[in-house]
Symmetry: C2
Subunit: 335 residues, 2 copies
Amino acid sequence: MKPKRSVPALMDVARRAGVGAATVSRVINGGQNVSARRLAAVQQAIEELGYHPNQAARSLKGARTKTIGLVVPSVADPFFSAAAEAIQEVARGHGTLLLLAVSENQSAREQEQVASLIQRRIDGLILAPSDGADFSMFKHAGFPVVCFDRPFPGQDIPVVLSDNYAGAKAATEHLVKAGRKRILCLSGDPQLFTSKRRVKGYRDVVRAAGLPYLAEVSVQDHESAVAALTPYLSGRSRIDAVFSIKNAITVSAYKILRDAGLEVPKMVAIAAYDDFELADTLDPPICVVRQPVVGIARRAAEMLFEALDRGQVQTKMVKMEVELIHRASCGGHSR
Amino acid sequence: MKPKRSVPALMDVARRAGVGAATVSRVINGGQNVSARRLAAVQQAIEELGYHPNQAARSLKGARTKTIGLVVPSVADPFFSAAAEAIQEVARGHGTLLLLAVSENQSAREQEQVASLIQRRIDGLILAPSDGADFSMFKHAGFPVVCFDRPFPGQDIPVVLSDNYAGAKAATEHLVKAGRKRILCLSGDPQLFTSKRRVKGYRDVVRAAGLPYLAEVSVQDHESAVAALTPYLSGRSRIDAVFSIKNAITVSAYKILRDAGLEVPKMVAIAAYDDFELADTLDPPICVVRQPVVGIARRAAEMLFEALDRGQVQTKMVKMEVELIHRASCGGHSR
DNA sequence: GTGAAAGCGCTAACAA
DNA sequence: TTGTTAGCGCTTTCAC
């Protein structure tokens, strides 16, 4: 009798322990209604065989897969990696694993990844949707979806996000109060929901204050940051403040100003969206709007599991407050 | 006839298209040997129903799950989140999804997570093992494993890592050449493989140079960094260089020295392991040993897929070279 | 080219 | 307390 080559199945355990399949099933599901003798026998067989129940077979029977999906633009981004960590932690608390997918903010990729997740019959999905996210991909998907950081375009899907508009407003107002007159707004992809809200917050404030609306909204990397900023560094179009809306750009702006010899905050103030690890260590420390990343992610995950437990989600939108962290780069008084 | 409530199955498609199950199966697997007429009918039914094949059922039949596991100490850590991104990218190229698990460097958690992955019948596993990783958890697992960043303790599992010893040696030698006499080595968990190798590199150099071996190897956070460094900031035990071995500690050390009024590099030089985003932006820029994170992760993933394709892994260990990035904090000449 | 039917590993209903 | 058995959704012979 040749032992079957592959991984042991429940029947192998049953045979080795000299019991029926159902008994093994009972044992691996809590061991209720099983005599001590057989329980021990089965446990020993499991141990000896290194048996692990096949989840695929279980979920075929209609059980939960104990797996949720997470789709983010990138895990390399500190915002989303912190979120991923928090979500995975909540999931772990529910005995659930995380299937990670990366969309790069491209709806085609997003769709492809979601299709892949649907095939795996995830119990639920947490998603930071791309701008062009298409709801039809969820047709007949059969699981709850919770968005975070951004809402699902044109769809009433539960979402947890922060108050981007208020945050940008607060930061801009702070600059205005500090006496800045020409505030340049720097942003990445102008299509991005978060960018749009933040730019709007900035705009409403400068408009109300009668200041010029100066925005460069398509800064992608250091090179384009140089290109975008240079015209504003001297002459009559010279600015006296920068409001950076995108994490990665902030540092570029800081370096460019410094390299151009423009003293911060004396000549040009800086305020930025998203706190970062060394914001308080740079010279001068950078004034930022801080989002409760972990709080947002955790809340989204909790909402998903509520939906899983209770059957339905009650809350449609949770908007978290952000915090303006006053630091010297604003040139403002801490009040 | 009530339409079944849940997600559509292959049979639903078959019935709607008026064909047999096998035909639908053929269509979703490439559509070979199917008449154009039925192919169209089936595709339409799939579209209308929003049908997605159930992977669980497929893998029950013995097919690959097209899913690999990734176990890291933390995804919030920039090193591991960059690695995760790279690995997910390679996986995507192979039509494979990533099941993400976090061990927090605790072998119990690691074991629990791996068990969970085994149940999901992953095709393979990429792992940054904890110090106490127990090989027995893979008993009968039936899939290839590749480690990265650290080898599996006492086990001959394929691994991709960087030359921690050489990197630490190079950094320390650089400090020695710059004339430093009292070099303090700061490290986190002394049990960690990478820490041990780096400390050894440091030690061998200071010993050979006849300099004192000064090490604080259990620095966890900013508070403990303060506690560890303070005794060395003044008096006769005063140091003239710090070699920080752990990412998170480096910035703490930098701040502590700065706050203590010890000029860098004039009074105290700094060299550190692992490059970080703002290392070149701080004042002074921090001299670091840079690991090819993405290269390491990608290579590990590629090795796993090679093992999956070819059946076996050939390489047992890949050691990547690191690079010493000269920056002003060392007080050295750039050569 | 096509469909019927067996079986992958498991759970749950039922019988004993 | 037990074991037997019928599927879960799919792929894969094997006839037609």
